[in-house]
């Protein structure tokens, strides 16, 4: 743990002595720090242990513009006067020099936005990394020019979700994004067209657990809904239909037989479709 510490005791301002594994105040005996060895798990993955002998530093990450290899000039209370002001100037210049081009600046902004979206939607880390590399590729292909950065951030999060099989609806992403629906759509179209995203039609099953927990229904209803969705896919009902509508219809159908009744309206609202959409799939499911 590298932390900038004041050289004096935080309580009585006494002199600190470091001996053994402890840093102790000479005046009052307060233990300021002890055990400098970090016994926690290693930061990096050592999958490439044979080829790469390095064992220090944070892991490289695709979700930072500099891949996590930044340097920061810290602060210290030990420096006074001229030296301190000099360090402040150095720090400012260093921060300015960290981002060298417009392109990198855009990347920083897009990545911050992606991180915010991912934390907001509680998505796993792989999705974040994938979304970031999508933005990077989009920049390499020169897709960003003329389209909005926020749109690309939102679209790549949406795309990464779909690729990872943890689909979110477009509306769910748009709700929390800084981009509006048009910007996001434009960016997603560009991504899909130019980069050839490996995405097929969405399986309604991906939506069922989320809608089920929003509607607060039993696990048994959810399970039945899954089998309905599976059957519907086999029977070809899902083709050409809005997958969230199908998922909602399956849940609605599954809940009908049980004692936790759902109305068409509330189920459709959760899925972000109209009750009519739901009804269409519902009648098809009934005919099965």
């Amino acid at each position: 743990m590298s932390q900038a510490r004041s050289p004096n005791c935080p309580e009585c301002d006494g002199r600190l002595n470091a001996h053994g594994d402890e840093t102790v105040c000479g005046e009052c005996g307060l233990v300021v720090a002890e055990d400098r060895i970090d016994r926690g798990p290693e930061w990096r993955s050592f999958a490439d242990d044979d080829t790469n002998p390095e064992r220090t530093g944070a892991p490289l990450t695709r979700s930072r513009h500099d891949r996590g290899l930044s340097t920061e000039i810290g602060r210290s209370t030990r420096l006074k006067g001229r030296k301190r002001r000099q360090m402040a100037r150095l720090r400012r210049q260093h921060n300015r020099a960290r981002i060298s081009s417009k392109r990198e600046r855009n990347q920083v902004y897009a990545f911050t936005e992606i991180r915010r979206l991912v934390s907001r939607l509680s998505l796993p880390e792989q999705v974040r990394d994938h979304a970031c590399s999508l933005v990077r590729s989009a920049q390499n292909e020169d897709l960003v020019r003329g389209r909005s950065l926020e749109g690309f951030a939102a679209a790549s999060v949406y795309a990464a979700c779909r690729v990872a099989g943890v689909s979110r609806t477009v509306d769910e992403v748009t709700d929390v994004a800084r981009a509006d629906a048009n910007e996001q759509q434009a960016a997603y179209d560009a991504l899909n067209r130019e980069l050839g995203l490996p995405v097929g039609p969405i399986d309604p099953v991906e939506y069922i657990p989320r809608f089920a927990s929003k509607l607060d229904v039993d696990a048994s209803v959810e399970r039945r809904a899954r089998t309905f969705a599976e059957e519907a896919r086999k029977a070809g009902i899902t083709t050409g239909r809005n997958p969230s509508g199908v998922a909602a219809a399956c849940l609605y159908t599954a809940a009908r037989g049980t004692d936790c009744q759902l109305t068409q309206r509330e189920t459709a609202d959760v899925a972000g479709v109209t009750p009519v959409t739901l009804r269409n799939t519902y009648t098809d499911l009934q005919n099965q």
Partner: protein, 521 residues
């Protein structure tokens, strides 16, 4: 009491709920009031928007904070209730979402203030103590506990972070906001010192009042290097005349004699002079106006911060600070004259225990500050790129979560203390019980500190006289006695003061409408 009755009482104290009761009370208290207090202290998040010409300033107002019970968000997006056993088995954190009301407000310069957006948003996740009132198993019967895979006799009182059970060590600190008089040596001479750890809202300042070998009083406090003459400081606080100063310190003729020596040596005579003098100390080499400004700022900010209070005039606070300094001076003189002994630091009246709730409050305060800085940054970025400012798009919820979980997982607390959280000792059942009721003194274990390790008479009934480790930690790590009751800090300070005023205590600032009543004997 006969033997049977004693046994019943004893059983009651060893019943399940009481074993980690101090942890529950402290943590519940933090959940119910502490968090809201911290948010209320913060109040607003200011931004740099509006520094430019023709731009209206923007700030964020923080409102009510709400914590639900622990739940887990799965990768597929569904959210379900989380029970402790599942958190242990899946190596996840037993934490609950925290929601906060935020309003973005623009204007105030030329236009009127308008609320741009107002919403309750999820700001992060708070680790929840197993068994506390926010825990999902609170109020479950034994059968229900077994049903969800929980041990019915488990005492609770710990957190689960990334699947490992962590207990926050109760720490034993010197009581803040109390005058402690003691002897010290400086350049080979014995001097008398009165100390106060003044504490308010997580800020701690040590104020020292020393009587040096010439008998002159000097005060030192943070942000002033070295020390300031006592009389100068008191005059700067508005206590001007010689008579008043002497009267405020003591009426004892011997002490008055000491005080007169001090007044003879006084460097300044009026309040203005005193503030000027102080300004030269705190901002030497700067312009005169800045010196005055800085001196006033230092007095109001760093000197005895615990005397500040909501709804009390600045003027009144200053005179209270002057009186407090006079009390410290009196303590020094009385010590010098042998009228009193030096205060015993190991006396339990001079100790305060920091239990899990207090520790979490410190943590939440710094986490909220970090979140505020992030919100400020996000707002400025969004504004620069001409986006609509909405609450939902400026809060990054992982900032707060990270700041709360990391210290509990590693034990590296804010303020540079390490080892605050420990892995619950599951060697056997008694090990758990003992671990939950353990407390630690922050003193070094490699220094002798014989007095601190000794069993003190005031530990009777509070601390177990025999349970302490052998070796370097002997006497520094202690365990609660069986029937120990830990009292909490007063909830409503105003009510306490009103009560005191109604009992005849005079001179409590910020209280109106209480008629001083004559004491009836």
């Amino acid at each position: 009491m006969d033997r049977q009755a004693r046994r019943t009482v004893s059983r009651e104290y060893f019943s399940q709920e009481r074993l980690a009761e101090h942890h529950f009370r402290s943590f519940n208290n933090f959940m119910e009031r502490g968090m809201q207090e911290v948010v209320a202290e913060k109040e607003t998040i200011e931004t740099d928007i509006g520094d430019k010409e023709g731009e209206e300033p923007v700030y964020v107002e923080l409102g009510d904070v709400r914590v639900v019970t622990p739940r887990v968000r799965e990768a597929d997006g569904s959210e379900e209730l989380l029970y402790p056993q599942e958190a242990r088995l899946r190596n996840i954190t037993y934490s609950a979402p925290v929601f906060m009301e935020m309003s973005i407000i623009r204007g105030g310069e030329e236009e009127e203030e308008v609320v741009v957006d107002s919403a309750e948003t999820k700001v992060g996740r708070m680790p929840i103590m197993v068994g506390s009132s926010k825990c999902n198993i609170a109020g479950f019967s034994d059968e229900e506990l077994v049903e969800i895979g929980e041990d019915p006799v488990d005492p609770g009182g710990y957190f689960i972070v990334n699947g490992s059970e962590r207990v926050l060590m109760t720490s034993e600190d010197l009581a803040p906001n109390k005058i402690l008089a003691e002897y010290d040596t400086k350049y080979g001479d014995e001097i008398q010192v009165a100390k106060t750890f003044s504490q308010r809202r997580g800020y701690r300042a040590l104020v020292l009042c020393e009587r040096n070998r010439e008998g002159i009083l000097e005060v030192s406090f943070p942000s002033v290097s070295g020390s300031v003459n006592f009389v100068t400081l008191v005059r700067a606080l508005g206590l001007e005349s010689d008579e008043e100063i002497v009267h405020r310190v003591s009426d004892d003729p011997e002490i008055v004699k000491f005080m007169l020596e001090n007044l003879e040596m006084a460097e300044v005579q009026t309040q203005e002079e005193a503030i000027e003098k102080l300004g030269k100390r705190v901002a030497s080499g700067q312009g005169k106006n800045y010196q005055l400004k800085r001196a006033n700022y230092v007095i109001d900010r760093y000197l005895l911060p615990h005397l500040h209070e909501e709804g009390v005039e600045e003027e009144e606070v200053r005179s209270n600070k002057a009186f407090y300094l006079c009390r410290m001076a009196e303590a020094c003189f009385e010590l010098a004259l042998g009228r009193r002994d030096s205060d015993d630091k190991d006396h339990y009246a001079n100790k305060r225990l920091k239990v899990s709730g207090d520790l979490m409050k410190d943590l939440f305060r710094t986490a909220l500050n970090k979140l505020a800085r992030d919100v400020k940054y996000q707002l400025e970025r969004a504004n620069m790129r001409n986006r609509n400012l909405t609450v939902n798009t400026v809060v990054r919820s992982d900032v707060l979560t990270e700041r709360l979980e990391h210290p509990i997982a590693t034990g590296n607390w804010v303020g540079g203390r390490s080892g605050v959280s420990q892995l619950v000792d599951r060697t056997d059942y008694m090990g758990v019980l003992s671990h939950l009721r353990r407390l630690r003194s922050p003193l070094s274990r490699s220094q002798p500190h014989f007095e601190a390790r000794d069993l003190h008479a005031t530990q009777w009934g509070r601390i177990c006289p025999s349970e302490t480790p052998e070796g370097p930690n002997c006497g520094l790590v202690k365990n609660f006695a069986q029937a120990m009751e830990l009292s909490q800090n007063i909830e409503d300070e105003q009510a306490l003061k009103r009560e005191l005023a109604s009992m005849g205590v005079e001179g409590i600032p910020g209280l109106e409408g209480v008629e001083p009543q004559p004491a009836d004997d």
